[in-house]
C-alpha cells in the first residue's frame, strides 16, 4: 500500500520542515477540514499527518448511515448542513460518493418512545428537516419485511421516518476528499506519527513527528477516537470523553428487501442493505473504555437475535464479516469543537461518538472557517469544551451518558 505506487490523490511529497497548518489524523474530519481550508479560505500550505493510512479509523469502519434527525437546536442545523453537502460535494469533487437517499426508519417500541419521537420530530420540522411520526402499519408499508405483530420481545408501536437520510459510501468520501484537498495543494503524509506538540508562551510552535520536526503555529487534532488520548498525552488537556469499541458486521448478500435504513433503540440494532445486497448492521458497545477494536461472538449473537425478531425473513442468514472501531463518547452525546483558547493556535475536533461519519462534511467546513478566522463560527460556538464546567450540556440524550454503574 505504501510502496512504489503513486497515491490516487496525487504525487507523494517530501515532508517539509514548516507548514501554515498541521492536521493530526487522516480521517474524514481532517480531510474535510483541509479541503475547505484550501478551497474556501486559500490556506493551502497544509500537511495532514496520519500514523497509519487515510481512512484507517472510524472513516472506514462506520456503517455509512447519514441523517439529520438529532434532538437539539444546536445539533440539528449542523447535521442538516452535513446532509445537504453530500450532493454538493459529489459534484464539486467530481467523485461519485454513492449517496443513496433511501431514508431512515427509526422504530419505536413503547408509548414513551413515541412521545420522545414526537418531540424530536417537532425539533426537526422547526429546523426545516423532514421527519414524520408514522404508526406500525405505515412502517410495514414502507418496509414489508418488518414484523409488526405482538409476539416479539419489543413490539413495534410506530416509527420516526426521516426521508432525507440514507447511506453514503464512506471510502469514496475518504478518496474524494483526499483528491480534492490534494488538488488544492494540501499534502497528505501517511505512515507519519505525531509524537509531541511544542508550545512557547502559550502558543503552538511545532509538531514532532516520526519523520522529523515541523514548525507551525496552527495545529488541529482531529483523530477520531484517538483524539482524547493524544490531546491529554501531548498537551495535558483532559476531555469529558470515554473511548469505547463499537462493532458492526455484514451478512451474506441477498436480494433487495430493505430499501430504508432501519434502526431500533430498544433492540440496540440498526441495519441497512448495501448496494451489493449484504445486510450491514451495527450494535451496542461494551461499556468500559478500551482501544482494542476487538470483535466478539457476543455481538454476533446479539445482532442475530435482534434482527431475527423484527426482520424475521433474515433468520438463517449467515454473517460474513465483522469488524470494530472506536467511538469517543461525551456525556451529552454532542461533539467538542474548540480551539485557540487553551493554547493559541491549537484546535481540536472530537467527541463525535458514533456520529462522526454523518457530520464530517459540515464539521470540516466550520472547523476550516474557525482555523482561518481564529474565532469560532456561530454554528459551532455552542460545542466548546467550557460547556461542561458551565453546566450547559446539550440535551442530545435525556439522561447523561456516563460509563459508570448507573448507565
Amino acid at each position: 500500500m505504501f510502496g512504489k505506487y503513486k497515491p490516487m490523490w496525487g504525487e507523494k511529497t517530501q515532508l517539509k520542515s514548516s507548514y501554515d497548518v498541521v492536521i493530526i489524523g487522516g480521517g474524514l474530519h481532517s480531510l474535510a477540514t483541509a479541503y475547505f481550508l484550501a478551497k474556501e479560505h486559500g490556506i493551502t500550505d497544509v500537511a495532514i499527518i496520519e500514523k497509519n493510512y487515510i481512512g484507517f479509523g472510524g472513516a472506514g469502519r462506520n456503517t455509512a448511515i447519514v441523517r439529520a434527525n438529532q434532538r437539539t437546536q444546536y445539533n440539528v442545523p449542523l447535521y442538516k448542513e452535513a446532509l445537504d453537502l453530500w450532493p454538493v460535494l459529489t459534484k464539486e469533487l467530481d467523485y461519485n460518493l454513492m449517496f443513496n437517499n433511501c431514508g431512515n426508519l427509526n422504530l419505536m417500541h413503547s408509548e414513551a418512545a413515541m412521545k420522545a419521537a414526537r418531540m424530536t420530530i417537532a425539533t426537526a420540522q422547526f429546523h426545516g428537516v423532514e421527519s414524520h411520526l408514522i404508526d406500525a402499519k405505515e412502517a410495514k408499508e414502507l418496509v414489508p419485511a418488518l414484523n409488526i405483530s405482538e409476539d416479539i420481545t419489543y413490539p413495534i408501536h410506530g416509527a420516526m421516518f426521516h426521508p432525507p437520510g440514507g447511506v453514503v459510501r464512506h471510502d469514496a468520501v475518504v478518496w474524494g476528499l483526499a483528491r480534492g484537498a490534494a488538488k488544492h495543494g494540501v499534502e497528505i503524509h501517511q505512515q507519519t506519527e505525531a509524537i509531541a506538540i511544542n508550545t512557547s508562551n502559550g502558543k503552538i510552535v511545532s509538531v514532532e513527528t516520526s519523520r522529523g520536526s515541523i514548525s507551525t503555529n496552527k495545529v488541529l487534532i482531529s483523530a477520531g477516537g484517538y483524539s482524547a488520548g493524544l490531546i491529554y498525552k501531548m498537551l495535558g488537556i483532559k476531555l469529558p470523553i470515554s473511548v469505547l469499541t463499537i462493532q458492526a458486521m455484514v451478512t451474506q448478500p441477498v436480494k433487495p428487501l430493505l430499501n430504508h435504513v432501519v434502526s431500533s433503540g430498544a433492540y440496540h440494532c440498526y441495519a441497512n442493505q448495501t448496494l451489493k445486497g449484504e445486510i450491514a448492521t451495527g450494535a451496542h458497545m461494551d461499556h468500559w473504555p478500551n482501544y482494542t477494536t476487538q470483535t466478539t461472538a457476543h455481538y454476533i449473537k446479539h445482532q442475530a437475535e435482534a434482527l431475527s425478531e423484527f426482520l424475521p425473513c433474515l433468520r438463517g442468514l449467515r454473517f460474513m464479516r465483522i469488524w470494530a472501531g472506536l467511538a469517543d463518547m461525551t456525556p451529552d452525546m454532542a461533539p467538542i469543537l474548540d480551539g485557540n483558547d487553551q493554547i493559541e493556535g491549537f484546535y481540536f475536533n472530537c467527541g463525535w461518538g458514533y456520529f462522526g461519519f454523518k457530520s464530517c462534511t459540515a464539521s470540516g467546513k466550520y472547523m476550516a472557517q474557525f482555523m482561518a478566522d481564529g474565532e469560532a463560527p456561530d454554528m459551532i460556538k455552542p460545542f466548546n469544551l467550557k460547556r461542561y464546567e458551565q453546566h450547559k450540556l446539550m440535551g442530545e440524550t435525556a439522561e447523561l451518558v456516563s460509563y459508570t454503574p448507573n448507565n
Binding site: 456525556p331 459508570t404 454503574p405
Partner: protein, 86 residues
C-alpha cells in the same frame, strides 16, 4: 469482549459481572471552596489513556464491592500494580 477482573472478595471473575466505575481521580473534592472547574474535572474529565490506567469497578452481579484495578486499555487486560507502576 473477553475480560476478567479480580474482585478483592470473590477473586478473578468474568468481566461482564462487573460495571466500570470510571477512571481513578482521587478523593471527591471538598465542598468548601469548590469551583465549577474542580467539580467538572472530578465528574466529567478523563485522561483517556491508551495504556495502563487505574480505574474503579463494582462487582454488580456479585458481592457489590467497589475497588480499583490497573488495566491496559490497549490490550484490554488487567495488570498487576507492580507491573503498572514500573
Amino acid at each position: 469482549m473477553s475480560l476478567t477482573i479480580t474482585c478483592p472478595v470473590c477473586g478473578k471473575r468474568d468481566g461482564y459481572e462487573f460495571r466500570f466505575g470510571g477512571e481513578d481521580k482521587g478523593p471527591r473534592p471538598e465542598e468548601d471552596s469548590l469551583t465549577p472547574q474542580t467539580w467538572c474535572e472530578y465528574v466529567h474529565l478523563n485522561k483517556s489513556v491508551a495504556g495502563v490506567q487505574k480505574e474503579w469497578w463494582v462487582h454488580k452481579d456479585g458481592c457489590g464491592s467497589w475497588f480499583t484495578i490497573y488495566r491496559n486499555t490497549v490490550m484490554n487486560v488487567e495488570v498487576q500494580e507492580s507491573e503498572a507502576c514500573r
